[in-house]
């Protein structure tokens, strides 16, 4: 048992990287210097090569800013959205995304944001994607310890208290697991996408000659429902409209 655990930990901790942490950190520092000097192209290249192996909300913010300064609003939005998925409710990312979205041509009736949205998002997911997974580990440790105490304690008062505490810990554990599960599926979810082509005709069928239902422009966020073999994607707008877009017009968040 212990052997399996050890191997598992080893596998997680020491995955071989083409880019080790030291190199990545020096690339990040180079990118930050280039950005400060106004060379947004060089900064983007540096952050980009880091993002091949690593990800973080801050890295996505930096990348988004580089694209924004280079005038590529669609990619800026893509990276801000990616960053927000890693750290929902991040104030900087949200502000920059809102700012970039002002330059997007299409205005689709998105549902109004819930007033508590950001606070709830922050509470629910925090800045660290592994937060709930780690909490679930602590909760399981606490629960089983309390359970052990409840079994071992002799005095009926202590025993009863330990049982009650174990019950509370169990609820906490289940909550942690639930949140971790939701967060995990959120992080894995790549159904949302940003339009990269300057202008896209969204058609009724996945054929170039099909009726054009509506026209979307660069930077608009859509939900990809499915993709066919030719690469056509069926997309949905926040207001519920659905249509097919030709291949290579969107990039998944």
């Amino acid at each position: 048992m212990k052997r399996i655990l050890f191997i598992g930990l080893l596998a997680f901790a020491s995955q071989a990287h083409a880019l080790d942490r030291v190199q990545a950190d020096s690339l990040v520092a180079r990118g930050v210097r280039a950005y400060a000097a106004g060379d947004h192209g060089a900064a983007r290249a540096a952050f980009d090569s880091v993002s091949v192996e690593y990800s973080s909300a801050a890295l996505e913010l930096n990348l988004g800013n580089c694209f924004f300064k280079l005038g590529d609003v669609a990619h800026a939005i893509l990276h801000y959205e990616r960053g927000l998925r890693l750290a929902p409710g991040d104030a900087d990312l949200q502000a920059n995304l809102d700012f970039a979205n002002e330059q997007v041509k299409d205005r689709v009736g998105a549902p109004p944001a819930f007033a508590l949205g950001n606070t709830w998002a922050q509470l629910r997911s925090g800045a660290d994607p592994d937060q709930w997974a780690r909490r679930s580990l602590w909760a399981s440790m606490l629960f089983f310890t309390l359970l052990g105490l409840a079994v071992a304690l002799r005095r009926p008062v202590f025993r009863r208290a330990a049982w009650a505490a174990a019950g509370v810990a169990l609820i906490g554990l289940l909550l942690c697991l639930g949140f971790a599960w939701v967060r995990h599926s959120e992080l894995r979810d790549d159904s949302e996408a940003i339009i990269m082509a300057p202008k896209v005709d969204v058609r009724g069928e996945p054929r170039p000659s099909a009726t054009v239902l509506f026209v979307l422009h660069k930077g608009t966020k859509v939900t990809v429902l499915q993709q066919d073999e030719q690469g056509w994607s069926e997309v949905q707008l926040p207001n519920g409209n659905v249509g097919w877009m030709p291949p290579a017009t969107v990039e998944r968040i």
Partner: protein, 572 residues
Amino acid sequence: MLVAFLMGAAGLSAQEISFTATVDRNSIAVGEHIRLTLTLTNGGDRFDAPDLGRLVVVGGPQYGSRMSNINGRMSTAVTKTWIITATAPGKYVIGPAKATIARGSIATQPITIEVVKGAAGGDANAAQQQRANANIFCTVDLSKSKAMVGEQVLVSYTLYSRYGSLEPVAYDIPPLNGFWSEEIELGNITLDNVVAVNGIEYYKAVIKRQLLIPQRPGRLRIEAAKLTYRANVNWFGQGTKVEVVTNPVDFTALALPAGAPADFNGAVGELKLEATADRSSVTTDEAIEIRVRLSGRSNLKLLDAPKLGFPGDFETYDPKVVDRIAVTAAGMSGSREFQYTVIPRHEGRFELGPIGFSYYDPQAGAYRSLRSDPLTIEVAQGSGGGGAMVPRTSKSDVLMLDADVRYIRSGDLELRPKGRFLFWSWPWFAGMSVPALAFVLFVAWYRKHERESADEQGTRRRRADRVARQRLREAGTALQSGERAAFYSALSRALHGYLSDKFALGVAEVNTHELRERFAPFHGGQALAEDCARLLAACDMARFAPVEDRPRKELYEEAADLIQRIERTARA
């Protein structure tokens, strides 16, 4: 003599009457003159000019008469001569002239005139207009037919007239579209300049002059104007009413080239910028006048005030505009001065400006930016009006001037391997299962231990019980039989024996002091020692004195219990 005269008269009347029209030449160029002569011989002088069609009379008629006596035959010839010309090439016909004579009338033969294109004589525009009406016409001329938006263009209305006197009745000039215009003062207009157009002499005068500034690019048109005059007004008559319609003029306004500086607002020409302040050191809340003067040749009247861009510590009011602008045929020139009133609200040393202004130079075909020298203003803290007034800073909202994305993050970006999460990973499963397994192992161990310890305790208790029962058997028998002395003696012996066995003491060594020492290491040993001593004392008392303060049964139970307790305690 008289008869002869009468005869002569009769002879004269009987003489042949002829009426001829002759021209000195049949073919001319535009602007050249033809002399048309009508000669009536022996027919009097009652004849007039023929229908000349579109030919124009330049001079005449000149009258001439001739009398001749040939061979005693008298003849008279009356001639009228006109100088005529044509304003455009083509074929013209001089119609038949009619003369009224004693018996009926007589006519001349029509004459055909050929007019060819001549050398360009004078103003082409005037020549064009002349064709419509050779007696009076008006030309509209632009100083240039193409110009940049904002550039100045001069438009002149020139009247050509052959009438001796003219009185204006009405000018119907349609409004200009796409131009900003400024009338140029002409003073008294007199028709005294004589020019020839296509050989015809006219009185010429500029009757209207405007400075035009195109406001938008594209084709612009100056629509035809209708001028009404009364000609030849004199004491005897009203004269004749004449209408003149000018030619519509097309104009092309060119858009200014791209790449205008940010502070360009339509100035075209040639300008200089000068900025002055009426003083350089003031106290707070004291007004300063800042004068920004633009001078040169430009569309000065259309210039907007340049933006000062002063710091927020200054309150800036809308400027007063003072113009010294002359509008002449040479264009608009002079200066426009913007007088800004500025009130500093905070003390300190401030650099105002430089004030910038841009214009387009059509000569060079490029934009030019002007920068004034910065003005340095020293502001001292004012008294704030004196009295008991406490100076108060007026609060104002922070102005958001622009927006930008928030800056990037530096330092530790908390990088993590891409796409790998703790949840549902091997380490997570391991971490989740470790406490569960530990718990299961613990429970198993605990159960076993519990079972074992439960066994041990039971044995011990049973053994202690057995020892006590064995030791107390005699005392029990005596208790059953009710023998008093035997009971106490047996009880005492049993206790002594047990204790001496237990702690390996001699019978004589079993005393309170020794017991205390022996029991000391055990938990609760002190109480046990006391109990033993008390019980032994009670037994001895009852053995040797007839005093029984407690029932024997109770004493027996106490002894049994004590032994059990010692057994349990001393083992543990």
